[in-house]
Amino acid sequence: MKFDWAENWPQFAEAFGQTIYIVAIAMGVGGIVGLVLGLALYTTRRGGLLQNTAVFTVLNVLVNFIRPIPFVIFLTAVGPVTIAITGSRIGTEAFIVPAAIMASFATSRIVEQNLVALDRGMIEAARSMGASPLRIIFTVVIPEALAPLILGYTFIFVAVVDMSALAGLVGGGGLGDFALTQGYQRFDWAVTWITVLVIVALVQVVQFVGNSLARRVLHR
């Protein structure tokens, strides 16, 4: 009773679509919210553009509070939020809510990390021209840290793809769930690895794009 590709092709295609959907939205939302959070961590940290110990401490603790919670527990805990947003705790959309939140927090650390060692001379130059902190962030800090940021986002992309395999927890589908339920749980290694290969291919494409962008941005 092995998997019948010919017959179940639409099921696979649907899972593929779900993964794209989950990853696109979780990355989109998580990427932006994570950027904001990461910038907040960077700017409020000691010696930052808007040094503010109170804000930094709260954010720092919050991010560390959320990140280590086992995902299925976190997903259950944010259920009420999910219901408020999507009307249900189950289904693809319902999975995206906790996934996007988790992605945001993870991204915030990646962003922070990539900005923290930025050369202060050019930030001083911008300050000396009277540029506001917000302007400095968007016109100096981000452009100057773009290469590592791109690689950081590529990292997060892979993490989100990996996380999307958990969508099955709430009936969210996706390729990861497909590999698990149609392959792994049925001990059908062909299905498992074919699906995993598709996921890997997706990741390779994005990494390739990320690498080329980073290289271009480094002007080598």
Partner: protein, 347 residues
């Protein structure tokens, strides 16, 4: 002339306790609107720190600092932001934005100041062609030579036509020719637009060419301050004397003197040339009166602030007595440096 920058008892320390570095100590000075003010001093004297206080990049540890009526030393970052667009700065380390092109670097302060695209582009093109980098508009700072980077920094600082320009070693990486062009530009913006310029430099020629007044710093303090001509012609501090000396290269070093003594007959003396005390014509006349022959063997006369200044080292030949009398006469109206140690050698 109205005052635009005033420092009153300004201190700046880095760190605390016994390991603290007192980079600027008890500096009180005032800079007039429209003047070009020079700051010189040994490496590490506190020059960069001083100008970085003026636009609030460093906060004053104690003392008062007022720029164009605004009390910088009492301001918070947010208020400083309103003052800063009026103060351009050329950084000693250039501090260019590495990921922006040359043109984007120069355009940056214009964006901050809200210039529209067309004006911005015109201004950038004008500045780049002035600093001779029109062909590098689309290059990145990493692709530039040292002097090219510095010129981008200069163009960027001047872009938004600030009221005050802080130039920290603005020509240190430039060849003499390019330096002359840049100094000419600074003089022009000062004359035409009335921009006040604070120039830190270790090149005395820059001081002589540009500045009206100069402050000499040593270990955080301003040890001498005045009109450039006065400071250079009558240096009171040791540090100033050394700087002026190396700069004019008009006073021979002991090695050079020894060589001159070996190759020239006669008595070596160095005589000061100054507008009000001793012109070279008067000098020659005095020698002629005493029938003493004076061959110029070293030294020079240049202008400081459009007035002649320098010294000449002469090899005097003639009657010993005549020489003695001639020197006495000279000593009456200018400085005369004799070298008895060389006479010893000759004997």
């Amino acid at each position: 002339m109205s005052e635009i920058i005033r420092l009153e008892g300004v201190h700046k320390s880095f760190g605390e306790g016994p390991g603290a570095v007192h980079a600027v100590e008890d500096v009180t000075l005032s800079i007039d609107r429209g003047e070009i003010f020079g700051v010189i001093g040994y490496s590490g004297a506190g020059k960069s720190t001083l100008v970085r206080l003026i636009n609030g990049l460093e906060t004053v540890t104690s003392g008062r600092l007022v720029v164009d009526g605004a009390e910088i030393s009492a301001m918070r970052e947010k208020q400083l932001r309103e003052v800063r667009p009026e103060i351009g700065m050329i950084f000693q380390q250039f501090n260019l934005f590495p990921s922006k092109t040359v043109a984007e670097n120069v355009a940056y302060p214009l964006r901050v100041a809200g210039w529209d695209k067309a004006r911005r582009e015109a201004r950038v093109a004008e500045l780049l062609s002035f600093v001779g980098l029109a062909d590098k508009a689309r290059a990145r700072p990493t692709q530039l030579s040292g002097g090219q980077k510095q010129r981008v920094g200069i163009a960027r600082a001047l872009a938004s036509e600030p009221k005050i320009l802080l130039a920290d070693e603005a020509t240190s990486a430039l060849d003499p020719e390019t330096t002359r062009d840049i100094l000419g530009l600074l003089r022009r913006v000062n004359a035409e637009l009335g921009i006040t310029i604070v120039v830190i430099t270790h090149e005395m020629d820059v001081v002589k060419y540009l500045c009206r007044r100069v402050a000499v710093m040593e270990r955080g303090r301003v040890v001498e301050l005045g009109e450039v001509y006065d400071v250079f012609s009558r240096p009171r501090q040791d540090v100033t004397r050394r700087f002026v000396g190396t700069s004019l290269r008009d006073r021979p070093s002991p090695e050079v003197l020894a060589r001159l003594a070996a190759t020239h007959p006669g008595t070596l003396v160095t005589v000061g040339i100054q507008e009000d005390t001793g012109s070279s014509a008067r000098l020659m006349r005095t020698l002629g009166e005493h029938e003493v022959d004076g061959a110029i063997v070293y030294g020079g006369i240049t202008e400081i602030g459009e007035r002649p200044f320098g010294s000449l080292t002469l090899a005097l030949t003639g009657e010993d007595e005549a020489i003695r009398r001639a020197l006495a006469d000279l000593g009456g109206y200018t400085t005369v440096q004799e070298y008895p140690e060389l006479e010893e050698l000759k004997r």
